[in-house]
């Protein structure tokens, strides 16, 4: 059952169209990823979902309530973790959490209980009475997330929560998202980091230029580029003749020049094909400097669908 449904969402800012007819279905209990490069329209899409921006066209229904007609009900069902640290720097973590809890209607013992609970999840109970301005970037992030889940929302929207932090803090955030999902919370996770989305999400929508260009499970998306492994070879010479040499090897589906001095070979099984390909190239007088073998992933899906890398 879809807990979040976006239908024909459009957002225009003057002449510019930031979101162009997005349709999404997020099922209850899943981790849904919104993957796309910076500026693809991910944040604008979720801003319309949580009532921060009014859609130019279309609607979002959360837990059966339309954002256009029942925005308060939608906001009660959602928890939002913004991309930036949206906390008051001169208030302590405790004061911040209590303030945001009150904004969601919590008070008294229930508020104290929830604040203690999220502080434990953030692992910052012992520094709760220190001002946010004294925290490192990696410490602010968990409090930023904690403020979004105080009221135990049905859906937690996490907008690029790992931008600009160290790997250890990033792992902690991903673990937290998994734990919340295990506890039954639906997570809508946006990122331009393919690895995070691939590791965390059950289903993924790939967004580019304000449109959803593909949507499905990881396997469904991988199938869009076929089952072949991708062998990338750094060579001293990459041209049509070299491609023909590689393509003539058994088990090779296709060989192309990916970039200057870079050959990309699609093979049904890289473990069996790699050695013959290198032998053929060496015999043709091509010097192979390095080799990279990978199975189809979201990066190659994005490359396949848009002709550019996620990091472009």
């Amino acid at each position: 059952m879809a807990i979040v449904e976006a239908r024909g969402l459009v957002k225009r800012f003057g002449e510019a169209t930031a979101v162009d007819g997005v349709d999404l279905n997020v099922e209850a209990g899943e981790v849904f990823g919104l993957l796309g490069p910076n500026g693809a329209g991910k944040t604008t899409t979720i801003s319309m979902m949580c009532g921060l921006l009014e859609p130019t066209e279309g609607d979002v229904v959360v837990d059966g309530h339309s954002i256009r007609r029942e925005s308060t009900k939608v906001k009660e069902a959602l928890g939002v973790v913004p991309q930036e640290i949206a906390l008051y720097p001169t208030l302590t973590a405790l004061e911040n959490l209590k303030f945001w809890g009150r904004m969601y209607g919590l008070s008294g013992g229930a508020l104290d209980e929830r604040v203690a609970e999220v502080l434990a999840i953030a692992g910052l109970e012992d520094r709760a009475k220190e001002r946010i301005e004294t925290y490192s970037g990696g410490m602010k992030r968990p409090i930023n997330i904690a403020a979004g889940m105080l009221h135990r929302p049905k859906v937690l929207i996490m907008d690029e929560p790992t931008v600009g932090i160290d790997p250890q803090s990033r792992n902690h955030i991903l673990d937290t998202a998994r734990e919340l999902n295990d506890a039954g919370m639906t997570i809508l996770y946006t990122s331009h980091y393919m690895e995070e989305v691939e590791a965390l999400c059950d289903r993924i929508a790939i967004v580019d230029h304000g449109k959803v260009i593909a949507q499905g499970t990881k396997d469904e998306l991988r199938k869009l580029v076929g089952d072949e492994d991708v062998i990338t070879l750094a060579v001293d010479r990459a041209d049509e003749g070299v491609c023909a040499t590689a393509a003539a090897v058994g088990g090779v589906e296709r060989a192309t020049v990916a970039a200057e001095g870079e050959l990309e070979v699609l093979a049904t099984d890289a473990s069996e094909t790699l050695a013959p390909v290198i032998q053929a190239l060496t015999a043709a007088g091509v010097h192979v400097r390095s080799v990279d073998v990978r199975e189809p992933n979201l990066e190659s899906v994005f490359l396949h669908l848009t002709g550019k890398s996620l990091r472009d």
Partner: protein
């Protein structure tokens, strides 16, 4: 309503922890009130700081001594004048030029003889141009005294001549005694009149108030508007620091967010006024009926809250508010009388104060200081509330919610 109050309370907490803001909102007005009231001293007839003056008696007659004695008599004019007697006219002149004295009075040689002969005597006054207002007060006292003494002496001498021409013969000594008695009475009458004016309540506007009272009100009114500027900063900071966006994704309406911000700005402004009100009273200032003063201050804080929203909406960024805000506030302060009384401005400039928050607020404060009742300032309160609502409307219309 609980969420509105929570937002307002949070804003008060944020300001309380912002030391630079506290310095501007409370420290600066306190310092300016003290400096201006000390520097400008007793700007009004009702002032409490005695004017330092010197009396130089070159005449050394009974009449000149009577006048000098009366002026240095602390019982009579102690609260208006701090007069010292000196025989060194050059030294007194130097002290006036240096600004150590507001003025000096010289009773010229032959002054008494002129009065004895039925002529008008002239008293010379030299003043410090740097203390023009205070010096003018002294000059006017001396001129009034001089005219009254001369008139009394002429009357006494004339009477003496009439008696001499009659069957009741009088000596020259008797005539001198009549003049002395008349001068004594005239001096007492004139200085009593000055003393009574001094002790009485101020009754006018503008320069009739002492500097502490005037600048206590003027600076409080001006810095309440600076409080509005900080309110605008706070609103825009919520936007740039993304907390406004987070607030709007919570189940809180935009009206609740704005009401919370407005309550915060209002409460901070009212607290700021109460601190300045308490401080000026503590150092001897007068405000009039406290509840009426707080009513006027509350109305001004409403207007300042509207100004905060309008500034945030029109300027759009903190940087722009930092540029536009002080200009708007200082122009309103200058035109509205916070720096100098509207009554001292040219006729062509005076109406401008009606278009400023300061003008309406300060006018009401000064009326209350002069002893006016609350109903006397209700039009000002209504005007301030109207300005506040108009600015609030402008803010609502132009405010940009998204970053």
């Amino acid at each position: 309503m609980r969420k509105v109050i929570t937002i307002g309370w949070k804003d008060m907490r944020l300001v309380a922890r912002d030391k630079p803001s506290i310095m501007v909102l409370l420290g600066m007005p306190v310092v300016l009130i003290l400096i201006l009231s000390m520097a400008l001293g007793n700007v009004g007839k009702g002032g409490s700081n005695p004017l330092p003056v010197a009396i130089v008696d070159r005449d050394h007659t009974d009449v000149s001594r009577q006048i000098a004695d009366a002026l240095v008599d602390r019982d009579k004019l102690g609260s208006l004048l701090k007069a010292k007697r000196t025989s060194n006219a050059e030294e007194a002149r130097r002290e006036v030029r240096m600004g150590d004295l507001a003025a000096m009075l010289e009773i010229p040689k032959g002054f008494g003889a002129k009065l004895d002969s039925g002529q008008q005597g002239v008293l010379r006054v030299e003043t410090d141009p740097g203390q023009a207002t205070a010096a003018e007060i002294f000059r006017s006292v001396v001129e009034a005294l001089s005219q009254r003494v001369s008139a009394a002496a002429v009357a006494a001498q004339t009477t003496s001549h009439v008696i001499a021409d009659s069957k009741f013969a009088t000596s020259e000594a008797d005539g001198h005694r009549y003049v002395l008695a008349a001068v004594d009475a005239a001096v007492k009458d004139e200085l009593d009149a000055v003393a009574v004016t001094q002790q009485g309540k101020p009754t006018g506007t503008g320069m009739d108030f002492n500097a502490l009272d005037y600048y206590g009100a003027g600076m409080a009114v001006m810095f309440l508007n600076f409080g509005a500027m900080f309110g605008a900063f706070a609103l825009l900071r919520e936007r740039t620091e993304e907390t406004l966006g987070r607030l709007l994704t919570a189940p809180v309406t935009r009206v609740e967010v704005l009401a919370g911000k407005a309550i915060g700005i209002f409460a901070i402004g009212l607290l700021q006024f109460l601190v300045l009100f308490g401080f000026t009273r503590l150092v001897g200032g007068h405000w009039g009926e406290p509840l009426a003063v707080i009513l006027v201050a509350s109305a001004q804080v409403v207007a300042a809250t509207g100004l905060a929203l309008a500034l945030a909406a029109v300027a759009k960024t903190q940087r722009a508010v930092g540029g536009i805000g002080p200009v708007v506030i200082m122009v309103m302060a200058a035109a509205g009388g916070s720096w100098m009384p509207v009554s001292q401005m040219p006729d062509s400039m005076r109406p401008i104060h009606l278009f400023t928050i300061n003008g309406w607020s300060l006018d009401a404060m000064l009326r209350l200081q002069a002893g006016a009742a609350v109903d006397n300032v209700l039009p000002n309160v209504v005007a301030l509330l109207a300005i506040g609502l108009a600015l609030f409307g402008l803010g609502l219309w132009r405010l940009q919610w998204e970053r």
